[in-house]
Structure formats: C-alpha cells, structure tokens
C-alpha cells in the first residue's frame, strides 16, 4: 500500500516534549515559528532568545541556536547578538509579563533603535509560570491571584496595549496582532510571521507579532472556553490587525 505523509512535526522544533499545559496556545505558536523558519530557509542561521515565564524552556524546543535571557531582557540580548552577527536571524519569544511589565524599557528601546530583530509576543493577559498573577495586560474585572476580586481600574489602571504603543515609536517597522483560536486565524498568523521574518531578512528593522493566547489553567477554564474567552473578551480590547507597516513607507 502506498503511504502519503499528510502531517508531520516541523523540523523547526526539536523532539523534546513541550512543557506547556494542555490547551494552551504556546504549542501552536511554536510550531508556526518552526515552520516559517524552515520554509524560509532560516533555521540553520537563527538564534532564538528564550525569556522568563512559561516559555523559559523554549531554548529546548526551537531547533536552532538559542540563548536564555534574564526576565524582560530578551530584546537587549537580541541586540547584542544581532549587532555582532548581522547575518544571523535573531528572534525573541516573550510573554506579556516579560515584555509588557519588567521588560518594557528593553522592548521600547529595541523598537526605538530600529533593531533588525523579530519579536514574538505572546499575550495571555496573565503571569502563567508563576501561578496566575495579574499582568499589565490583564483585563478589567479579570480575576487573578493578585487581583482576586477582579482587576480594578482605580488600583491598577487600564490594560496596556503593546502593539498600539509600539506603533507610536518611529523606529519600529512592522507590527501586527494575530490570534490562533481557529484554523483561519492560524493561517493568518503564519502569514504575519512570514512577513516579520522577511522584514528582518530584508534588513528593514524591528518587527513584532503579538499573539492573543490563552491560559486555561490560570484562567480556570477548559481549553475550549479559554479560546471562546479570548475571542469574546480579549480581542475586543486587543483588536487584531496590522498596526504598522513601515516597509510600505520605504517603497
């Protein structure tokens, strides 16, 4: 009988078992990155930077050179690598606590300098690894272990929109917010990733793709309810779409 391969793991990821909780979208996002790096022929010349949070072990999963950064510092680490190895493809993989809280200065200034790197920003509106604390991206009313009565605007302000914020930074080139809650959006997200890595390959500067993600365990929901919550609650506050495309301005 003739067999045909219709689905297989991407060579962009190692064979290590992922450490993510069931139902979380990190796995999908990892796979998309792996696929894009393979399809673009960039895998063997890439350096991925793991941040602190759920993705702290991602240096075990990406099938390329990796460096593990201190909390929030991935864009600075990426800067050091890219400046000394301009031909390498350099990307960071950061959560919302890492990027939008402790690493805010590093992400804004990497964009400000127009560093020719690609940032993968995974926004699940919570600190996952440390057990579900409030993040700058936590929605108003959302219960976390440090906002047990729901996030209160009076105490903690309003959730930070990173793609919108970075769109105001003149040095940033390409910014898009995507979601992976269904196959249609996964395909769209992959297109955005492809574009972001193209921007880097073409030496056009700073690119970031923000993924709306889920955290079933810390949200206290089933995986399906989490996806629904992301669509019903997160996307209205964090609208999907293109926030900046400086490549067009240049052409």
């Amino acid at each position: 009988m003739k067999t045909e391969t219709i689905y297989q793991p991407t060579k962009g990821l190692t064979e290590r078992q992922l450490t993510y909780c069931p139902g979380c979208t990190h796995g999908i996002i990892h796979k998309l990155i792996g696929e894009v790096l393979v399809e673009k022929g960039l895998l063997d010349t890439s350096v991925g930077i793991a941040s602190v949070g759920c993705s702290v072990m991602s240096y075990e999963f990406f099938n390329c050179d990796t460096q593990q950064a201190a909390h929030g510092r991935a864009p600075a680490v990426a800067t050091g690598i890219k400046r000394t190895n301009p031909d390498a493809t350099v990307f960071t993989y950061q959560g919302d606590g890492d990027l939008a809280s402790i690493g805010l200065a590093e992400i804004v200034h990497a964009a400000h300098r127009g560093e020719n790197i690609t940032v993968i920003f995974v926004n699940n509106a919570i600190y996952g690894m440390t057990g579900g604390q409030m993040a700058p991206t936590t929605l108003i009313g959302q219960k976390t272990t440090t906002s047990p009565r729901g996030r209160d605007q009076g105490d903690t302000g309003l959730p930070l929109r990173m793609s919108e914020m970075l769109a105001t930074v003149p040095g940033a080139t390409y910014l898009e917010r995507v979601s992976v809650h269904d196959p249609k959006h996964i395909r769209k997200a992959k297109k955005a990733l492809e574009k972001a890595f193209d921007v880097q390959t073409n030496k056009q500067g700073f690119s970031m793709i923000e993924f709306i993600s889920t955290c079933p365990v810390n949200w206290g929901m089933t995986p399906q309810d989490s996806l629904n919550w992301a669509v019903d609650q997160m996307i209205p506050y964090y609208p999907l779409g293109l926030y900046k495309d400086g490549t067009k301005e240049e052409n």
Partner: protein, 356 residues
Amino acid sequence: MAKVLMKGNEAMALAAIKGGCDAFFGYPITPQNEVPEYLSYHMKENNRVFVQAESEVAAINMVYGAAGAGARVLTSSSSPGIALKQEGISYMAGSELPAVIINVMRGGPGLGGIQPSQGDYNQVTRGGGNGDYHVLSFGPETLQETVDLVRHAFDLADYYRNPVMIAVDGLIGQMMEPVDLDNKIASMDLPTKEWASNGKSGERGRLNKIVSLHLDPYDLEKHNLKLKKKYDEMVEKEQRYELINTDDADIVIVAYGTVARVARSTVKTLREEGIKVGILRPISLWPFPEKAFEKLPESVHSLLTVEMSLGQMHQDVRIVNEGKRNLAFYGRAGGVVPEADEIADEVRKLVKGANA
C-alpha cells in the same frame, strides 16, 4: 608605539580596542563618560560595534547576548551603574560568558557623589548578583598598569569564560599619564569559541545554547561545582600584587589603586625619618592576594590598611592575618582622597604602639 599622554578613561577605551574588543555596550554615568565617548567614534572607525543602551541593565544584557554569540565585549560604568549591572553579571557567570567590565568607582551609597572612591570593594569582590559566583577583578595603580590589564582582561575572560572587572577609582579615570598601549603583555593561547550561540548551527552541525537555568538541584549543584573549579584555578593562578620596601619593614601599609600611589609618598617621608615601612599592594582584588602576606618578613609587626572606604578591604586583611599581626585601619570616604601626611600620622601611631 611610543608613550602617549592620555586621560585614564580614554586610555582604557583605546586599550580595549587594542585588546581585540569587538563590541561595546554602555550607558552614560560620571566619572567614566570618556570611555563611551571615545569608543563611539573609534569603534565605528575600526569596523566594530558601539551601542549606547537605554540603561545599564540593558547594556549588560547586550553584553550577554554578544558574548554568548562569541564576541569580545566591553562595558564600562561607575558604581551605581555597576549595581544595576549585577543581575546580568550573575547571569554571565552562570552561563559562563566572558566579558570585560570597567568600573570607574565613585562615592556612595545611593547616588553618593562623583569624586573618587573605593567604596565598591565589596560590590567588586563579593558581587551584587545572586548565587555562588566570582568575578575576576583587578584594582590597578597607574595608567600603564591599567591599560595593560584591560588588554589582558579580554584573554583572561575568554580563558575562564567568566566576566573580568577592572576597578579603578575616579582619579585614575580622570587623570593623565604617559602610557604605552603596545607594551608587551602576556598573551594566552585560546581555543576557538565552539560553544558560541551565533546562528551557525547549520555550519557546525550542532545546536549551541547559552543557559543559566538548571531546574534539577543535583544538576545545578554539579554546575556550581564546575564553576568552583574555575574559581579555585583563579585563586591559584591569578593572585597579583606588588611588595614595596617590605624586605626590612616593621610596618606594612596595605593599599591599592590611588591610595597605593599616595602611600608611596608616605613611605618615602617615613623612611627618611628612619621608620621601616613598606607597602603591600593588591593588584587582583578577587582573588585577594593572600600569597603576598605569606611573603612578608617576620619583622613586620603591624599592618595598616588604608582605603577610600570605611574598611571593606580591611575585612579581607583580617581574614588573611588570622590574628598574627597588629592590625590598624585608616579610611576616607565619600570621595575624599587620603593625604600622604594623614597616612604617615597613622603609621607613626603604630611605631609608638609597638614601642610602648
């Protein structure tokens, strides 16, 4: 190259270029600003990397990335800025990454002041980052010694795969002195950096990872013991010091950096008075040069530690002394440099004390 008259900070910057520095990442802070200023011009000219970071925190993490990718990297700062870099220094020690860090020390704590100080001795030798680690560190006295050490530090950092710190006080950073930047220094035979994570996994056929995370305690303990082996080797091989007029001495001043320069005048004055005084000058601050103390003659009855801090190095002198000799301490703080006469008065007290 003949000797040229240069300001300390600029001489250190040029020495870094001569030492093969590929990249510099830093942030402005007084009194070290001439280092990044000089490099902002001359690194580009030499086709190397210069980035003014948004903070000391970002700068040291850029150092981490570039060092992890195999480059020879420098950062420079002054005391409060070095405090901010401690997180990154701990990560570099944990990930075994080489880099050279220049610390042009000023008074503290907090913002403190901008005048010369040695108040970072504990920060330099104990480290402010988390975990069991050490930074190989030197406290040179003259600009010539400083530039020689800066050049050599890149080799040492690569050899040990560990950060190396050159800790000078603000006076050495700001003063001018003739220096020979091609002075012959020891060169080390170093292997290529097969471990570098630089996006060449295809070429090398293996993935390289730069990581300080070891979640299994037994695994981490093994890593800690591996690091300790390197620190033990540093203690064995890298103790550096100078003994000045100690052969017949009754009293020995223990001082490093600018204070040792001042103490040389003290010794000259007191020797003319017939007081047999010498200097034990630590050059390596970590490892502390314990071997130097073993070389002091039996005639030495008292040690006087003099520092531009309130007794930080003196703690190490106490540890090494193990109660053998009389100990005394004289320190000035806040950016005040002790005068030769002040030190002489302290030595005279010891002469009287010994005779009493």
